[in-house]
């Protein structure tokens, strides 16, 4: 009896939650996540704080790419290039415009990569499948080389190094720099994720899905497939730019070698590994990107492997994990978890039983 009333009470709360405006719901979830991050970083050491921040910027890059692939049905092998643009915009702003506040730098980095996204997206809006993949591949290969071409302005292969402001003076006694930095990163990441979630669940998301599923029918209904595809590309590029800018903020450097083809391919692999269609999938992908790298290095050190092997071990591990996940759970970690959850629920209700 009390169990029943509790259940209906919970259902009512859930129902009210579902009926509240989407933006509000997403903002509330982001706020909760942010509080969780603040708690988590308060109990962990500075090193882990930085790692948590690293997961954050990977998450926003993977989420942006997942939106592009999952909702609009386009593929990009060049998302590392947008991170490159974000990181270098950040670096150049910090070096040449010292007075510019961090939030403005981040916004400008997003704007710069969005602008690049417009150019690339408009050019590639007419391409599909492997042709689009090939065109974006050029970006991943070509763009980081720009830094080598202009060593005076962009620092050549050593990249740009700069120092970023840490904790504001008022808080510097209580909050160490790494903790503050991870808060900044996650605040930016969660705000971007709110945008991504709203896009993918909202009006624009429905339009993008319509174009993805049946482009001809969508055009006959008055949608503009080319423009919609470009919009998806721009949003996704903006996420990449933010990720790059946050990385630069965190590390205090922007080097061309960290935005090479390997990064672009890893992002794509992380999307597949995590599972398309939800932000949780992007989170699993981002975690995999960061932790497989860490574990790979740890394992190489423990085994006393030579540098040549040690440097490639994380990549090999990531590849093995990707193959295993795709074989076991073709819809990625999130898809697998969803299936597990469904299996547990049916078992609890009993075979042939129905909920409610």
């Amino acid at each position: 009896m009390t169990d029943d009333t509790a259940r209906t009470g919970r259902a009512a709360v859930l129902d009210r939650w579902r009926r509240s405006p989407m933006l509000l719901r997403h903002l509330a979830a982001a706020l909760a996540a942010f509080l969780g991050i603040v708690l988590l970083t308060s109990v962990t050491d500075p090193f882990t704080n930085l790692r948590i921040a690293t997961i954050g910027y990977h998450l926003v890059a993977v989420a942006g790419l997942a939106l592009l692939i999952g909702v609009s049905g386009q593929i990009s092998l060049g998302h590392g290039a947008f991170m490159f643009i974000g990181a270098y915009t950040m670096a150049l702003l910090v070096i040449h415009v010292p007075g510019s506040p961090l939030w403005a730098n981040l916004l400008l980095a997003i704007a710069a990569s969005c602008a690049a996204g417009v150019a690339v997206g408009a050019a590639t809006a007419r391409l599909h499948g492997p042709y689009l993949a090939g065109a974006t591949l050029i970006l991943a290969v070509g763009l980081p080389a720009v830094a080598l071409r202009y060593p005076e302005a962009l620092g050549g292969s050593n990249g740009l190094t700069f120092s970023v402001a840490g904790t504001p003076p008022a808080l510097s006694d209580t909050v160490p720099d790494p903790r503050w930095q991870s808060w900044v990163v996650w605040l930016a990441v969660l705000l971007a994720l709110v945008v991504v979630a709203n896009v993918s669940r909202g009006r624009l998301g429905r339009r993008l899905r319509a174009v993805r599923d049946d482009e001809a029918a969508a055009a006959l209904s008055g949608l503009r497939p080319g423009r919609l595809r470009t919009v998806a590309f721009v949003i996704s590029a903006g996420c990449g730019g933010l990720a790059g800018a946050l990385q630069a903020y965190l590390l205090g450097t922007a080097t061309p070698s960290s935005f090479g083809l390997a990064l672009s391919l890893s992002l794509l692999a992380a999307v597949v590994l995590g599972g398309l269609g939800s932000l949780w999938g992007a989170l699993w992908g981002a975690l995999a990107l960061v932790y497989v790298e860490v574990w790979g290095h740890d394992a190489a050190e423990a085994l006393g492997l030579s540098d040549h092997v040690a440097n490639n071990l994380p990549i090999a591990l990531f590849g093995a994990a990707l193959i295993a996940i795709v074989l076991l759970w073709p819809s990625g970690v999130q898809g697998g978890l969803a299936r597990l959850g469904a299996a547990v629920r049916t078992r609890r209700i009993g075979p042939g039983g129905r909920p409610d």
């Binding site: 319509a210 599923d213 049946d214 001809a216 029918a217 055009a219 006959l220 209904s221 008055g222 949608l223």
Partner: protein
Amino acid sequence: MSAPAPAPPALEVHDLVSAYGAVRAVDGVSLTVPAGSITAVLGANGAGKTTLLRTVSGAKAAQSGRVLADGVELTRLPADRVVRHGVAHVPEGGGVITQLTVEENLRLGGLWRADRADRVRAREEMYQLFPVLAERRRQPAGALSGGERQMLAIGRALMARPRVLLLDEPSLGLAPMVTRRLLRLLRELRDGTGLTVVLVEQNARGALSVADHGFVLSLGRVAASGDADRLLADDRTRHAYLGF
């Protein structure tokens, strides 16, 4: 006193050519569709019926020729512009977006229109016209039967409040009874709203039973045309092109 000037035709096609590579699927077709009429476009497989509709609605580019709706030039406009000029096209198979719900599919058809209140009104009208869609509004469109999908596709096209509705083989894969109901509904729609309908069909007998006029295509050209009754009565056309 002279008779009032006739209204401009809802749709005019002049000498339209539309090709896939070297193959001219539509090879110089001209036709006139009077406002408020139901016009059947008939013919065998590969006669160019679908290509004709696709070229008229801008889903495919024309090689040459002209398309006008109510006297407005539509030639070379892309599909998303043509629908804004009052010509809506229900493609073969309906083109329902299976990942979206029934309601989301319907809304898709009117998204481009600025008049939000009228969009809501149009949606309610569609639910009255197709009550089965109202029952299933929250279900994914992939769960609909073939007939329901066809209704959804027509409803989505009507959300644009078109003056001309182009229908490509709405009877495809439907049971004869469902087809009859659908065709009757087209007739009621025309009588009620003055909608102009261009109906591409293989099912010539069914299409001519509701149509006012008919055009018979053969190998991309107009082989015969005239009033629906006359085409039905003309044994030679029937045997040569319509197969009954």
